[in-house]
Symmetry: C2
Subunit: 166 residues, 2 copies
């Protein structure tokens, strides 16, 4: 194991700790423990500092053109290679929660793959994307330009489950 | 590989994609591409939805007492087992950026370990923590109650590098 591998492993650990602590903060709020929730949010913020420092130390942040290419490759891997067998196995095991979670992610990564390709084409032509609102579905992650649909095409929830991204 | 393993792998992937996209968004802003930055933030938000859905599907969010015990175990692993050999190897390789990044994270995970233990003691006594401000250092993640120090004890930056957590 080289330092390069160690940075990758530490980035993975810090990234997951951040996501867990934010989920644990919501749970603490729900249990009537707002100050424990705040501690989880504080530690989550610290893990963001660590994750991004490790990412910089491994030169993981490149030009936007290269960052978009990496994002396209990652999204393509997920919707073409990773999620299809995961979804199949969840069905075979009768694990309904996993089946839904994998199905939604698979559909949305294909959307991301396409949106990032459009962004790459723009940036390679020397321009930014047009200034249009973007909405994200809080149930499945569906990512939609201009306006939230009456019903999410991926998970079928109504318009009010979409959040506009600042 | 079971669906349980697949959920863990998908959670790891979604968590890291979110952290990368937020870093890529900042880079796009710096390159004068605010609309590409917004797309990265939107996809990052979607990956949060996916990560948390996978975490729920694997019953990864338990009671706050159990969540604190898991957090304490994770922090203990990082500052006692994971980061010390990573730090040693970075020194041997002369990789200064990694050395700093590992050194800061190591010190801060011990702080988190202690703060989570105090939180666990409170919750096991049936009470929330006291309502005190918490500050996080944007350079090293140092996590401090009550007020930001004049100089960060971990990375030595001045007080204005600390952010108060809401
Ligand atoms: Fe950390
Ligand atoms: Fe995605
Ligand atoms: Fe949806
Ligand atoms: Fe995702
Ligand atoms: Fe930590
Ligand atoms: Fe610091």
């Amino acid at each position: 194991m080289s330092t390069r591998d160690n940075l990758a492993e530490a980035f993975a650990g810090e990234s997951q700790a951040n996501r867990k602590y934010l989920a644990f903060a919501k749970k603490a709020e729900a249990e009537g423990l707002p100050q424990v929730a705040k501690l989880f949010r504080a530690a989550a913020h610290a893990e963001t500092v660590h994750a991004h420092a490790h990412l910089r130390a491994m030169d993981g942040i490149k030009s936007t053109v290269d960052n978009l290419k990496e994002a396209i490759e990652g999204e393509g891997f997920e919707f073409q290679k990773m999620y299809p067998p995961f979804l199949e196995q969840a069905k075979q095991e009768g694990h309904r929660a996993a089946e839904n979670s994998f199905k939604f992610a698979l559909a949305v990564e294909e959307v991301h793959h396409d949106l990032y390709q459009q962004a790459l084409a723009a940036v390679q032509n020397g321009v930014d994307l047009a200034d249009r609102p973007i909405y994200v579905c809080e149930v499945c992650g569906n990512t939609v330009y201009d306006e939230a649909p009456d019903k999410c095409e991926v998970c079928l929830v109504p318009k009010d489950k979409f959040t506009r991204i600042a």
